[in-house]
């Protein structure tokens, strides 16, 4: 997260021959990357992230995760995470293992009720869930010991599946409060309303929203698509090292989906990572994942590359769990 703020626009990294770099946004604190990301593949991991030639074919990664002897610490390392619903004590997560390195895009797919959303909510510190075992290390720190706001300030962002309405608090005030909380943590002076507006104004283009939206109350009267775009705007404004997008594509029409995907791609850098939770292949065609995990019954049962999504689409989950 800190690096997000300090980054300046720099020329795109050597890109794949098939792709052209996108034009830079006006006040970019990030720079666009080729759509196809590199370096997830454990077998070819190199210390300085650089896009590796296109194909993600060398895929046979084992279902569990390990470092493959690389010297870089993973961004997120989840080991044997178990969690229950706080009220009923019903177990939802039954031992999740996951490693996410910098600059990677992971997707988690799975049947309804498999625990995908719960997983992201547990990581973010939602009070409805209680962790009963396992460990989560984020940027070298124990995430489970941190309060939700501390986790957010550490660089973990989750875009909610159903963002809540907050009547009476308008978008720009909310974003300003959150942004200034980060500035405070970094020891930087907080921004006043005018300065903040200047900072945030260019980002609206990113999510294809008009300025009048800033004066509306948070999510009040927003359509599904608008709420999701609001989440992405918050991501753009606040920045994150690991952004978890919980079903960002649900309820979106074709155009809105395109806007969201474009925005997310625009925010990617070699330093930050994205964890996408989704049901459908549609989004993954636009935001190409480094790897796809299939979750079932509270565990990750299979990991593969994007071809896994095709298998899923054609044959359904039964084919995966049987395999």
């Amino acid at each position: 997260m800190a690096c997000q703020i300090q980054c300046t626009a720099s020329p795109p990294l050597p890109s794949l021959p098939t792709l052209t770099p996108k034009p830079l946004p006006s006040s970019s604190l990030f720079f666009p990357l080729p759509l196809v990301l590199s370096s997830c593949l454990r077998s070819t991991h190199v210390p300085s992230p650089r896009p590796v030639a296109a194909s993600l074919s060398a895929v046979e990664s084992p279902t569990s995760t390990n470092g493959f002897g690389d010297s870089k610490t993973p961004l997120l390392e989840v080991k044997g995470l178990t969690a229950v619903i706080a009220e009923t004590k019903q177990e939802i997560l039954k031992g999740v293992d996951l490693v996410v390195h910098h600059g990677e895009i992971h997707a988690i797919m799975g049947k309804n009720g498999s625990g995908k959303s719960t997983f992201s909510k547990v990581l973010v510190g939602h009070p409805d869930y209680e962790v009963t075992g396992g460990s989560v290390v984020f940027k070298g720190e124990n995430l489970l010991d941190m309060e939700p706001e501390e986790r957010s300030l550490a660089g973990l962002f989750m875009s909610f599946q159903t963002p809540v309405e907050i009547p009476g608090v308008n978008n720009i005030d909310f974003l300003q409060m959150a942004y200034n909380a980060r500035r405070k943590k970094l020891g930087e002076p907080e921004l006043g309303p005018l300065e903040f507006y200047a900072y945030i104004y260019p980002k609206l283009d990113l999510v294809n929203m008009k300025t009048d939206f800033l004066n509306r109350n948070v999510n009040e009267g927003f359509s599904g698509g608008e709420r999701k775009r609001n989440e992405i705007l918050q991501l753009a404004v606040l920045g994150a090292d690991l952004a978890m997008l919980d079903e960002i594509d649900s309820g979106l029409d074709v155009d809105a989906l395109r806007d969201v995907a474009k925005a997310v791609n625009g925010l990617l850098t070699p330093k930050n990572s994205v964890l996408i939770i989704t049901h459908y292949r549609r989004l993954l065609e636009v935001i190409k994942p480094t790897c796809i995990h299939i979750m079932e019954d509270g565990r990750i049962i299979k990991t593969g590359d994007s071809s896994l999504a095709e298998v899923l689409e054609e044959k359904g989950y039964a084919a995966i769990s049987a395999a």
Binding site: P127, S152, L238
Partner: protein, 489 residues
């Protein structure tokens, strides 16, 4: 029986059928206050609440001895009769079940008989862009009245100075004609020294709001039981198609003095008329504030009320909206805040007798003190002929301290069978899901709570139609909420 309370010789001549007088009559009464012809209904025998009697006498004493204009006199007479047949409200009475008025009952109530001599403080507070029409201790301050910016035909001023016969007649038609009042309504009727009339002629649209500022100057110190009483009264008549905005602001001097403001605003909105009524109450935290707002709406008229009440040790607003024609629009939006040992009470009643009325009520209250109490009784009567009514009511209360209390009684009485009615009530602390949303974005719990509490009230405050009022109120409420915040929990 009423006659017996005033032992003037003349009066005894026409009351041979009454039972013997009660022993506690005051011998010194000498004025002829009651005109004979208006006493038609004789109150029931053997019942005079001692507190009421005392108060009635004191009110009589405070009025000027010269005869006043006819409508005012008629009002006083009728009120006197009603008053003496009313008991001081007890907790056993439904409409005062949760509201303890003993604070007023047991104080030494003295109606203020003339305004303070020095009015210099008025100039100091006059910093708004709109000139205000001032009431001080219930008395109209004529010198403050500046009608130059008002359109032709509009009258804003004292009844006594009203020269137009036409308007006077119209006022007489409607004044005081109200069968739903309570003791406090009658107290004002009897004790109001003057009546302010706001008259908007047919088709006239008044651009600038009419800003009524009520200031309470005389007050008893904390500890003394002295409670000066003022009875300001306003009558608003908006003719067909007229449009006006009225802002009422009740304040006192700095400090926490004890006084009782007992005000009444009566309004008649003729066909197609529109009134936007803003009511801001920020009186002393040791004062009593009782207000009646009675509105009669003819067909296709619109009445919008936005209220923000933060002051008073005991503050009660009674609203009565009577629908006299179809297709009316009524919107009541109110916000009550208790930051100390206060009671904030809203008793509202909307009576619909005609079809296709639209009424929406939103009431929000925050109780931020463990001895604070909020009371809400919202009654909507959708009677038999009020078909195709669309009536909604929502009340949300926020309790921020242990032992803070709120008593809500939303009630809809529906006789018609083709209507759309809804009501909802929620009492809670702040919503967890909203607090978590803040936390998930890096904002700590304390800041989140503060933002949500302020925004809870903002939903109502944002509806105040005039920005100068809105800003003042917003700042005031923010200040009050800041003062209740303790350190991080």
């Amino acid at each position: 029986m009423a006659a017996l309370a005033f032992t003037h010789q003349n009066l005894l001549q026409f009351t041979p059928i009454l039972t013997p007088p009660k022993p506690k009559l005051k011998p010194k009464r000498t004025k002829t206050k009651l005109s004979i012809q208006t006493i038609t209904a004789v109150p029931q025998a053997s019942f005079t609440d001692q507190y009421v009697l005392q108060l009635a006498d004191a009110l009589e004493d405070s009025l000027p001895s010269s005869p006043s204009s006819l409508p005012l006199q008629k009002l006083r007479d009728n009120s006197s009769v009603t008053l003496l047949s009313t008991e001081w409200p007890s907790r056993k009475e439904e409409s005062f079940r949760f509201t303890d008025t003993s604070f007023i009952k047991n104080s030494d109530k003295k109606p203020i008989s003339h305004p303070p001599k020095s009015l210099t403080f008025l100039d100091v507070s006059r910093d708004t862009q709109f000139k205000s029409f001032d009431f001080v201790d219930g008395f109209l301050v004529d010198s403050s009245f500046d009608s130059s910016k008002l359109p032709d035909g509009v009258y804003v001023g004292s009844l006594l100075k009203l020269s137009s016969e036409g308007i006077l007649n119209r006022v007489c038609e409607f004044l005081g004609d109200f069968e739903w009042g309570d003791l406090f309504w009658s107290v004002n009727g009897l004790g109001a020294p003057d009546l302010m009339v706001v008259y908007v002629p047919e088709g006239c649209r008044v651009e600038n709001p009419i800003y009524l500022k009520y200031t309470s100057v005389e007050g008893g110190d904390e500890g003394s039981k002295k409670m000066p009483l003022s009875n300001p009264r306003v009558f608003v008549l908006v003719e067909k198609g007229g449009e006006v905005g009225i802002v009422e602001e009740f304040a006192g001097k700095e400090g926490s003095e004890c006084y009782w403001t007992n005000s009444v605003l009566e309004m008649v909105i003729r066909e197609g008329g529109k009134v936007r009524h803003s009511y801001v109450q920020k009186q002393s935290l040791s004062a009593a504030h009782i207000k009646w707002t009675s509105v009669r709406q003819e067909s296709t008229s619109t009445y919008e009320l936005v209220e923000v009440s933060t002051g008073g040790k005991l503050s009660r607003h009674n609203v009565h909206v009577q629908q006299l024609g179809s297709d009316t629009v009524t919107e009541l939006t109110t916000f009550h805040l208790c930051v100390g040992d206060q009671t904030q009470d809203l008793h509202s009643r909307i009576v619909l007798d005609h079809p296709r009325g639209y009424s929406q009520q939103l009431h929000k209250c925050i109780v931020a003190h463990s001895s604070g109490q909020a009371v809400f009784d919202g009654n909507v009567k959708v009677n038999r002929y009020a078909q195709q009514t669309d009536a909604g009511q929502l009340t949300r209360s926020l309790l921020l301290e242990p032992r803070a209390t709120v008593n809500v009684k939303p009630n809809l009485q529906i006789m018609a069978d083709d209507v759309k009615c809804s009501h909802g009530a929620a009492i809670s602390d702040l919503e967890d899901s909203q607090l978590f949303y803040f936390q998930a974005r890096g904002i700590d719990l304390e800041t989140a709570r503060k933002a949500l509490v302020v925004s809870f009230g903002a939903e109502v405050i944002d509806r105040l139609p005039y920005s100068f009022v809105q800003k003042q109120v917003k700042d005031h409420v923010k200040e009050l909420l800041e003062s209740t915040r303790k350190g991080p929990s």
